[in-house]
């Protein structure tokens, strides 16, 4: 857990005092990723660097796991915090292996242990140990270097990580890949992470919580969905962009909105039964046909059922699209638009039908959160931003 208590930094410059961080108070629960987000110069980096004392706070305190860090030795404190700097900063005079094992060596690990650790880290960041460990940073691509930077920070298995735009130097495609890898690692490692970004999409994807900064002040601190649903003021609203409702689609899984009520027919049912069910469930156009394992095999069109006699097994069309419970709504919405559908069947990992998701449920979800928040938004427990 990281807790900042009225953390403030005032830089004395020839042009006068600059308040880069102004009474920042916030708390990152253990095992969560907190994204510091905001326009350039708003104090994200300054706030981050005060945690490992690269920048000395003018006033205020930093607590890690409840302990006031001012009482700790600076070197010890830093060795217990993984640090990824914005400019990567691999040591060009050291091999990849030496770079990764720097902190374990400082901590006095024995050789066999840190060598094995280097290989383990390489596998974790999906780079072949034998091919890369003996190379020098200049012999790697920018994206590979950035991964090594993350591996170096993780090597000694610190409980806390500070990452300053760690994926900034990577092209969008590879960035998405690395973000996914990192989230997968985080699911296992459960580090407490402060992560600076100026990319809203990255923040929404990576963050358990997002802290929005403006001119040295913390404006809003919320979970991503809540941030998008209930921006606290116009600044946050405009920073998040006009399409913030669509951004929320990324955050909601099918499983959150799917209804498990779904009318189905079997291949042996007659078309009459199918028509009956279509009416019973209020479907206008069609109904799904499943096999014995409840896997969808086709759909029966209402128009066909009305005009034809016979069994479903002889008169079905292919299923245009199904979604998995773990898909996000953005994918669902996109499939709905491209297939001109108002509902989509949902399946589990074995391909068995477990329910359906409708366009109305999606719009209702997005809309209802706005309505709920526009009234009593401030009351929610996680939006505890300081508002001086």
């Amino acid at each position: 857990m990281i807790r900042l208590d009225n953390l403030t930094k005032v830089f004395d410059t020839p042009k006068g005092a600059v308040t880069a961080a102004d009474h920042i108070s916030m708390e990152v629960p253990s095992g969560e990723i907190c994204i510091l987000l905001g326009p350039s110069g708003c104090g994200k980096t300054t706030t981050l660097k005060m945690i490992n004392r690269i920048i000395r706070p003018t006033s205020g305190k930093v607590f890690i796991n409840g302990e006031d860090t001012t009482s700790l030795d600076t070197q010890d404190l830093r060795r217990s915090i993984g640090y990824v700097i914005q400019q990567i900063g691999l040591f060009p005079n050291m091999t990849i292996e030496e770079n990764i094992t720097v902190v374990p060596k400082l901590l006095g690990w024995d050789k066999a242990k840190y060598k094995e650790r280097a290989r383990e880290m390489m596998r974790m960041i999906a780079l072949e140990p034998d091919a890369f460990l003996k190379r020098y940073p200049s012999e790697l691509s920018g994206g590979q270097q950035q991964r090594i930077g993350v591996a170096r920070a993780l090597a000694a298995d610190p409980p806390v990580m500070l990452m300053d735009e760690p994926f900034g130097a990577i092209d969008p495609i590879n960035r998405a890949v690395i973000q996914d890898e990192f989230l997968k690692m985080q699911q296992e490692l459960k580090k407490t992470i402060m992560f600076v970004s100026h990319d809203i999409d990255e923040a929404i994807k990576m963050g358990d919580r997002i802290a929005i900064f403006r001119a040295g002040k913390l404006v809003q601190y919320s979970e991503p969905d809540e941030l998008l649903a209930a921006p606290k003021n116009e600044f946050v609203e405009s920073f998040l962009g006009e399409d913030r409702a669509l951004k929320r689609l990324n955050l909601v899984k099918v499983r959150d909105l799917a209804s498990d009520e779904i009318g189905l027919v079997r291949p042996d049912d007659t078309l009459e039964t199918a028509l009956q069910r279509i009416d019973d469930y209020g479907y206008q156009t069609s109904i799904v046909m499943v096999n014995a394992k409840r896997q969808p095999v086709g759909i029966i069109n209402a128009a066909v059922a009305r005009t034809t006699k016979g069994h479903c097994r002889d008169h079905f069309q292919s299923v245009p699209v199904v979604v998995n419970l773990d898909d996000d709504l953005r994918k669902v919405a996109s499939l709905m638009f491209s297939n001109d559908m108002t509902w989509v069947p949902c399946v589990d990992d074995d391909g068995r039908i477990v329910g359906q998701i409708t366009q109305r449920a999606i719009t209702h979800h997005l809309g209802s959160r706005y309505r709920a928040h526009s009234g009593a938004g401030e009351a929610s427990p996680s939006s505890s931003a300081s508002e001086e």
């Binding site: 490992n52 690269i54 070197q75 010890d76 404190l77 830093r78 060795r79 640090y83 700097i85 914005q86 400019q87 990567i88 900063g89 691999l90 040591f91 060009p92 005079n93 050291m94 091999t95 720097v102 902190v103 400082l106 020098y136 940073p137 200049s138 170096r152 500070l162």
Partner: protein, 243 residues
């Protein structure tokens, strides 16, 4: 070794010159005259090398710590003016340095070594300082953020990354040193300058060349030794000579 390319051409020229001189001397019987000077050459070459070795090592031993000291953040105020002084110092001709040294240390080996030491000191200090100052702030921040102590930062990050520049300074400095040693004879410290200057005085070209050729060879050898050392010592990742 790609780094040696530029001076490689020079070296080739020297070799060709030596070869041509060899052919000429063989045909004209000068070789016998050279053999006459051989014991002198041996004795004076040792003296010559000794002057270089002592003044050079002393200079390295003083210059690197001095450069490191000046590059510390706490010295930032003094450092720039100190570097200005060193820069001015570098422009003083080495002969003048020797003369100055003689004027308050008298004649003999000590003032010679001291003069050579001063002339050698400056380029090494300057390169050590600029090399260390040139280490990217991002690296310094990474090193600090990772939890290295100031000493560890210096040894594991700053010096290795500045080493190539430092070696360039040593190379320049020793080139100056070796080139200046013949002048040391003028203040009574011996060395191969004795043959050169006496040869000039007596209008004896063979005697003069007996001093000049070994001096040139020594310069080449010393330069190569440093190049090879730099090649071996500077880590591959920051060694432009070892891609």
């Amino acid at each position: 070794m790609p780094t040696l390319n530029l001076s490689g051409a020079m070296r080739l020229l020297v070799l060709v010159a030596v070869f041509v001189a060899g052919v000429w001397s063989q045909s004209s019987g000068v070789i016998d005259d050279f053999i006459f000077y051989l014991p002198d050459i041996q004795y004076l070459a040792v003296q010559h090398l000794w002057l270089t070795a002592v003044s050079g090592s002393l200079a390295i031993l003083v210059a690197i710590p001095l450069g490191i000291l000046l590059s510390r953040p706490s010295m930032a105020r003094v450092a720039e003016s100190a570097m200005q002084v060193l820069n001015v110092g570098t422009t003083i001709p080495t002969l003048a340095v020797l003369a100055l040294s003689m004027s308050f240390l008298g004649i003999g080996t000590v003032p010679a070594v001291f003069g050579l030491f001063v002339a050698t000191l400056l380029p090494i200090t300057r390169n050590t300082y600029t090399g260390l100052k040139g280490v990217s702030p991002a690296l310094m921040e990474a090193a600090a953020g990772i939890g290295m102590s100031p000493g560890q930062r210096l040894l594991k990050v700053e010096l290795p990354n500045a080493l190539y520049v430092i070696f360039a300074g040593i190379r320049t400095a020793l080139a100056i040193n070796v080139g200046t040693v013949p002048l040391a004879f003028l203040i009574g410290a011996g060395g191969l300058g004795e043959l050169i200057f006496t040869g000039i005085d007596l209008y004896d070209p063979v005697m003069m060349l007996s001093g000049a050729i070994p001096t040139a060879l020594l310069a080449v050898v010393v330069d190569m030794l440093i190049a090879v050392t730099a090649f071996l010592v500077v880590p591959r990742g920051v060694n432009p000579g070892r891609a």
